[in-house]
């Protein structure tokens, strides 16, 4: 479904993506992992068209995405930091995003689920970080798209919201969606991810199921297995 071919990206002298090749098939939850600064966010942003690669090609649904924008209608993205215009209310921002995308949405259901009903008329500037993240999640999941990209989705969520988030992710997976997640919380990966893509030095270092990784690292604990993987780099 998504194909990255020989992707290069430099920021000044810093090489972030160095000839990265990656194939992601349709359906399933893929966790993109890697140490800080390994290029996870850059990779996702290339896919979204926010970062323009120096070299290489990205194919989504059999079409190149570089310098295109219409393909984003079939893609939902949850950004890492939720920061909205402070003077708009929650309801206004939801309506605005709906307005921008010619698609059906199920926002009511999600608003109910995350208990945002009482906050609908509040200004976004007055909300707490966790509540903003809930709004962010509603904005991401209210559309029916084939690809869902989540950048650190668990940020600032309370336990109940986290449970809801996991159940939504599972539901979307059952519908056959492709879900990309970056996170540093390994228990979350262990619980939800089908496959792990491990980035190191701008390349794919490991790609496979969670069990395959554990086996390869000879470690039953995912957190330690990943730590071993990173430690190899430092060694």
């Amino acid at each position: 479904m998504i194909e990255f071919k020989n992707l290069h990206k430099k920021f000044g002298k810093l090489v972030v993506l160095d000839g990265l090749d990656l194939n992601i098939s349709k359906g399933g939850i893929f966790a993109i992992l890697g140490p800080n600064g390994s290029g996870k966010t850059t990779l996702i942003k290339c896919l979204l068209g926010m970062v323009i690669p120096n070299k290489g090609e990205i194919i989504f649904d059999k079409k190149s995405v570089l310098r295109q924008w219409a393909y984003r209608n079939n893609l939902n993205y949850l950004p890492q930091i939720a920061n909205f215009p402070p003077n708009l209310t929650v309801l206004e921002i939801i309506n605005m995003v709906k307005n921008l995308r010619p698609k059906d949405s199920n926002s009511e259901e999600l608003i109910e689920l995350f208990g945002l009903k009482t906050s609908l008329d509040k200004k976004l500037g007055n909300l707490s970080g966790g509540t903003k993240q809930k709004v962010n999640i509603v904005l991401t999941f209210m559309f029916d798209s084939d690809l869902i990209v989540l950048d650190e989705p668990t940020n600032g969520l309370d336990p109940i919201a986290l449970i809801h988030l996991k159940s939504i992710i599972q539901k979307e997976k059952e519908k056959g969606k492709t879900i990309l997640i970056t996170t540093h919380i390994m228990s979350f990966v262990d619980e939800v991810a089908d496959e792990i893509v491990f980035l190191l030095d701008g390349k794919i270092y490991f790609k496979g199921t969670v069990d395959a990784l554990k086996k390869q690292m000879n470690n039953d604990n995912l957190e330690h297995a990943i730590a071993n993987l990173i430690a190899k780099q430092y060694a």
Binding site: F11, I52, P79, P85, L100
Partner: protein, 260 residues
Amino acid sequence: MLKILKYSFYDLMRSRWSYVYFLFYLILGFVLLFLNNDVDKAVITLMNIIIVLTPLIGTIFGVMYYYNSKEFTELLLAQPINRSKIFMGQYLGISISLTLSLVLGLGIPFVLYGLFKSTAIFNFSLLLVVGAFLNFIFVALSYNIALSTENKIKGFGYAILMWLFLAVIYDGIFLTFLVVFNSYPLDKFSLAATMFNPIDLSRILILLKLDISALLGYTGAVFRKFFGTNLGMMISMGVLMLWVMLPVLRMNLKLRKKDF
């Protein structure tokens, strides 16, 4: 684009600063009218204020809005919208809301004072048009600076420096030139130098219309001698338009390569 424009506009129209700006002009208008007791004189005083203040406010609002809405812009960038439409929408949203503050803030006191019965209505309208131009120009310039500068503090600094340069330093350098090279013919040089500064250009444009020779100064006089009043106004208006279009064009070019 219109959707983005609408929301940027709503967002700004609800911010406290738009009201502060609006109230400032409102009070300024009333005070000037009651102190001068004469619409014509008030227009001249206003010109001096507008020519320095609108660029400053446009610059500050431009950089502030860009940096403050950065994360939100990222959210928009992930939506199926063309990049340049997002930024053009924001740009127009800021410029239009600032212009509205200016037009309403000054318009209300002048209309109440009896602008429609006075002959100064054309001068006053020209003043507002120039103010609007300056808004559009300086928001575009500051957006350019913000787009090219990742660091917020630096971006802010450059933007203020740009304003200071065009509003104050430019004239100083210009004047020094005139003094140092006063034994050479400087008409063409000063004509060209005026074109490169939208603030000077606006000043001359208004003074040409007001037809007050005493205030025209050297560049204004050269301008009038060269082009005559009407052609001079048309040319300066045209150059002001270029001052809007070129930064907007550069913004679009920059956007094609920018990483967010």
